[in-house]
Point group: C3
Chain length 265, copies 3
């Protein structure tokens, strides 16, 4: 367990699957401003696929280094809201993360920058004077007040609930050549969990997806418009794309589709 | 008419049906910043159903308590833009509201926290030095400058145009058991106008929708994934949902669909 | 070439085709805040049609006057990211613009308020200490740090790369009566490139689109709900609309569809 305290910078990021059709995110910002007017709130993303905590975890793990040290990152993808599911905090690289305890923070807890984690319950938050807590909108009634207090430095994240040692810190990859589609972005690109480190020895320069062998290139520009290509993207993952087109539509792709590296031997 | 003055806090919320495909909301923020650089602008929602002022009113009525006292709430769902429709202000619970005079603020005027309302015309805004006013974008040319001045405290909302006494303050419900779908949220949940107060005497614990009798439960979690359920939601309304699914798609639901409480007797 | 220096006000606007499903815009804001915490960032639009720089240029040209003098406007619609395409800056009306050199800024360079332009390469940005630059996300790795430094006044935009004289400043319209659909907004309205100046002599009061002759009216309100109408919109262009309906769906409209003014003679 790290001895390093979290020093809040006043920044809060918000990540949800709430979409843009309803005032849910806006109301959370109202609650944060009521609690602590000086908070600097940045929307990370609210259009994530619904009910899929691991997609939120995929992005948080890759995005936090681009924010200021001392940022509080709140992620609410919460299909179990109102049930007895606990909540979780994590400290990673001098940043604090708050989310439902539903696997959302697992990828962060497996990262090398991980420092500490803990679980907590509503009963651990009496100091927040939350008032009525609904069973369907903890983003507004629990998480928003909590991250406002954390960003203001009026509550210490390490003091919340019970510390835990993540169970999955040592991730073993069964086969370095196998992976799957983890995220489909708004351009229709297919982001896989095959990281650049698996390409290090130059053995693999092609990927197999949907019965098609695709060369892994340096830039989108190495291919022609409309052509299928693979690339190591800006997040360090192999990504399958159609140049200026949409790979999801081309392939009828879905999350979890298998991909595999093809040996050059 | 209340004697209490509105004391602006510098916060402005924006609610529109403009969507995210065009720069309309961004330009309104530019105009606000030109007028008063210190404004704190929070997006409440811009993905509301187009041309339906009452949906915006539904949400404003339920959301304002989560913002700071002294907030100016601007809502632009304005199918009559450029016509001779007037504009309206309302003071509710120490918050100010500005909208076209098209029914958008009616639900707020029927609420217990209502303090005062008034209507005004373009000709009442000469003090704003508006320059050219287009006939198609009053959000940019009229409303944005107006709320900037109100939030800055340079114009008093009570001084705009003519005071009115809302005609519909005393809402009579013909039958406590009857209601309809008022909002369909981005999760596909169906929000009705049956409020929690109608369930107070425990006579009703079921709701009838689309020929299906549905138990009203405490949390989504009381049902299985994919099951139809009803719940008193975080806004105090009965809501019909499919657990981790989409009730709009399941039922082919539309705004205005009738619902009714089913007596347990 | 103008002698006037750009004096940054601290405002930055962001315009992209990134959509709302991914954290790409959020991460750019994190990078800006890391570089210069005092930046005032306003989203102009992130839902623009993908891979179409000219649509971004259409909107930037019409929107910048609504922002504060000294604003830095960053637009990233960048199908050539990672290729050898250069980047471009322009000074227009006391505002600075940054974009890929792919035609996005052409409309601005043809405007009467144009002051100066220049192109630059990654190699011109060594003073930024950019670290690793990916080949797929220059918005995050290049443009966000750059506009933070420009808005902070720590780099002078005129000093970037090589000045250029825009080649297309004198735009000649082959036939004043001809135009095309330039933008389809989220309401389904069709915005054309026929500007209000072409209607000045009162010769044209009708427009031909999809074999239909449509009267150009003053407001949407001059027509009935559901009726096709044309109007000079709030951006000074002739726009084809269905009153409280969707012209894109009605006509099956697409970008580039031809329109022409019909003489009243």
């Amino acid at each position: 367990m790290s001895q390093q305290s979290f020093i809040p910078s006043g920044y809060i990021t918000l990540t949800t699957d709430f979409g843009a059709c309803d005032p849910f995110v806006g109301v959370m910002k109202g609650v944060i401003a009521q609690r602590w007017a000086a908070a600097n709130v940045i929307d990370l993303c609210h259009g994530l696929p619904k009910y899929q905590p691991t997609v939120a975890g995929f992005w948080l793990t890759r995005c936090w280094p681009y924010f200021s040290l001392g940022t509080v990152h709140l992620a609410v993808v919460d299909p179990g809201v109102g049930s007895s599911r606990a909540m979780k905090w994590a400290l990673v690289g001098g940043h604090a993360f708050i989310a439902p305890d539903n696997g959302l923070l697992e990828a962060l807890e497996a990262s090398v920058a991980w420092q500490a984690s803990g679980t907590f319950e509503l009963s651990d938050l009496v100091c927040l004077n939350l008032g009525v807590v609904s069973s369907t909108f903890h983003g507004r009634d629990v998480f928003a007040p909590l991250v406002a207090e954390l960003a203001a430095g009026r509550i210490r994240v390490e003091s919340l609930g019970r510390p835990v040692t993540p169970g999955r810190r040592a991730v073993t990859v069964a086969n370095e050549a196998l992976g799957s589609v983890q995220v489909i972005d708004d351009f229709g690109n297919l982001l896989t969990d095959i990281g650049v480190e698996r390409l290090a020895d130059n053995r693999y320069r092609k990927i197999l997806y949907a019965s098609q062998v695709i060369d892994i290139k340096e830039t989108y520009d190495s291919s022609r418009v409309g052509e299928v290509t693979a690339i190591v993207n800006s997040w360090g993952c192999v990504e399958i794309a159609v140049v200026q087109g949409n790979a999801q539509q081309r392939f009828g792709a879905a999350l979890g589709d298998p991909v595999s590296l093809v040996s050059s031997d």
